[in-house]
């Protein structure tokens, strides 16, 4: 009777810890662990079995990590791969590195997309600017137009010159897509790396 309560208690914790998985996968895992624990109870080894499985959270984690990595790899989409890296980042160094690298590329993609949209909405505040002397290049949006409407006071430095005009829209769109694809590829590469490291072992 006490063993039955111990098993139910363990399975309740396991089911709760597996809630990130689809119902069918979760129920299957819980049913199999139940069969395992009941079998071990028959052998008088319930305590050893629970000790070997680990706490419900730890037991669930090994299933979830495997499934997240595989689902992300099979799906290949930016959302699932990035989501998997995000979930695993706190526990796996490879995922942390992958999250950082992918995030940089996705932010660049978002930045270019925003700049392209800004060129449509407020063309005077967005552009690809080139400094008059140093040749420095800036791209993005600015609160104050770099090319003022009013004449410059004598001696004032010449403002940067915007060189792309409306071509900024296709340029920003292209760069946004490029960085998005690079971000997606990099997140997939890190997921693949984790699969390689993880796949041979379950020890």
């Amino acid at each position: 009777m006490k063993d039955a309560a111990t098993i139910e208690n363990y399975l309740r914790g396991l089911s709760k810890a597996l809630r990130a998985l689809p119902d069918r996968d979760r129920d299957d895992i819980v049913a199999e662990i139940r069969a395992h624990l009941e079998h071990r109870t028959g052998e008088g080894k319930l305590a050893e079995a629970i000790k070997s499985l680990g706490a419900p959270d730890a037991c669930a984690r090994s299933f979830i990590e495997e499934m997240k990595i595989q689902t992300a790899f099979a799906d290949g989409g930016a959302v699932k791969t990035f989501g998997a890296l995000l979930t695993l980042a706190s526990r796996r160094v490879t995922a942390t590195a992958g999250l950082f690298v992918s995030l940089v590329f996705f932010l660049l993609a978002a930045g270019f997309a925003f700049t392209g949209l800004a060129e449509i909405v407020a063309p005077d505040k967005a552009g690809l600017w080139v400094g008059p002397d140093s040749g420095s290049i800036m791209i993005g949006t600015f609160d104050t137009p770099a090319t003022p409407d009013t004449p410059l006071p004598p001696g004032a430095p010449e403002p940067p010159r915007e060189i792309l005009g409306r071509w900024l829209i296709p340029f920003a769109a292209g760069m946004s897509v490029l960085f998005f694809v690079i971000g997606q590829i990099s997140s997939r590469l890190f997921i693949r790396l984790m699969m390689r490291r993880k796949s041979p072992t379950a020890i």
């Binding site: 037991c59 499934m67 595989q70 796949s199």
Partner: protein, 112 residues
Amino acid sequence: MDVETWKSQLRKGAAELAVLALLETEAKSGIGLLDALELRPEIGLSDGSIYPMLNRLEREGRIEGRWRTPAGGGRGQKLYALTADGRAALKSMRAAWLGFRDELTMIVGEKK
């Protein structure tokens, strides 16, 4: 030197090969596999590690799990069998392992 860490590295991959090989001739449950490996502690599989591995192998399509209830009733169990992909993987892994073992043995030598 930390031999346990080195052994843990050595076991990587070996456990998967052992499981696939044990399923080659007949379907087995997680308990059945653990029982078969009970006298092989160096393989390193335990109650806690076998089910995530079986779960992964099943999702990779190398094994197929089916629930079976004994004819006379009683506790059901999930039995795993190799799929065609699993058999092909086992064949490749076995050839790779045998080559690796032979070459390493030539370098390291037999037990002295």
